[in-house]
């Protein structure tokens, strides 16, 4: 089955990102196709490489990155949500005159059309939120 996943909450504050990660990983291990993981609302905060959890806790951002590296996952942060919350890549830094970037590897910033396209292209869109 072709799936897409939407993550609506940031890491640690809510379980949604954890559950989305475990769902996505299980689906991939079962041989399903994950067309895209789209991060919206505070979900875009899953895509900053500056996250530093305590050493005895899970690293939610790195976990997504490693899953994306293993399965060539498309991890997309909504641009409007990312701008509001200060998630920046090279293009956004240049366009908006920011002095730094913080996007994690394997993530990319793009528009809401990517969410709509994912919903159209996939057999199921699975939403994880509060």
């Amino acid at each position: 089955m072709k799936l897409s996943v939407q993550v609506n909450e940031g890491p640690y504050q809510h379980q949604a990102s954890d559950t989305a990660y475990h769902f996505t990983k299980a689906a991939l291990e079962k041989g399903h196709d994950v067309f895209r993981v789209f991060f919206y609302h505070d979900g875009v905060l899953n895509g900053t490489r500056l996250t530093t959890p305590p050493q005895d806790d899970r690293n939610i951002v790195n976990r997504w990155v490693e899953l994306a590296e293993k399965y060539d996952l498309d991890l997309v942060l909504c641009v409007a949500a990312a701008q509001r919350r200060g998630i920046v890549d090279d293009g956004e830094a240049e366009r908006n005159g920011k002095d730094a970037t913080n996007i994690a590897p394997k993530f990319r910033i793009s528009g809401l059309g990517q969410l709509i396209e994912a919903a159209i292209q996939s057999d199921r869109l699975v939403v994880f939120g509060d």
Binding site: H41, A80, G111, L112, V127
Partner: protein, 135 residues
């Protein structure tokens, strides 16, 4: 895009306490370009999103209520409101805004696409949708 899907946007939260309502609207507006069959559903505190006469002038929040009134122009065909959620909050349809819809090609017009539904009907509508965006 060959086939059209039934999109349902499920709105569950009050409009200004969190950003979900506004960012949900942003998806609806962008999604209009994709020509799908679009409905919105309002349940729980989400029914407050359609209450008319809201004034945000003293809270420094952008009042996005006018945007709901334009949704008919963005390809939204139905706006369903869970009647039980509305009644539980002491509200009736008279408290809600009206949203007009017109098909520019056929000139078919609907004065108000905001429609109260019973909870079992709401469940059926969700079940019949191809995609449910939950906010």
């Amino acid at each position: 895009m060959s086939d059209v899907k039934k999109f349902m946007y499920l709105n569950r939260r009050a409009p200004y306490g969190a950003i979900y309502a506004w960012e949900s609207l942003e998806v609806v507006l962008i999604g209009a370009a994709f020509d799908q069959e679009v409905s919105l559903m309002f349940v729980d505190d989400g029914v407050y999103q359609l209450v008319k006469g809201s004034d945000t002038s003293e809270s420094d929040m952008k009042n996005f209520m006018p945007t709901y009134r334009t949704l008919g122009d963005y390809g939204v065909r139905h706006m369903f409101v869970d009647k039980a959620s509305l009644e539980a909050r002491g509200l009736t349809q008279d408290d809600l805004i009206e949203v007009a819809w017109e098909d520019w090609e056929t000139e078919e017009e609907v004065d108000n696409i905001v429609e109260l539904v019973e909870t079992d009907q709401a469940a059926q509508l969700l079940s019949d949708s191809d995609v449910v965006f939950s906010f």
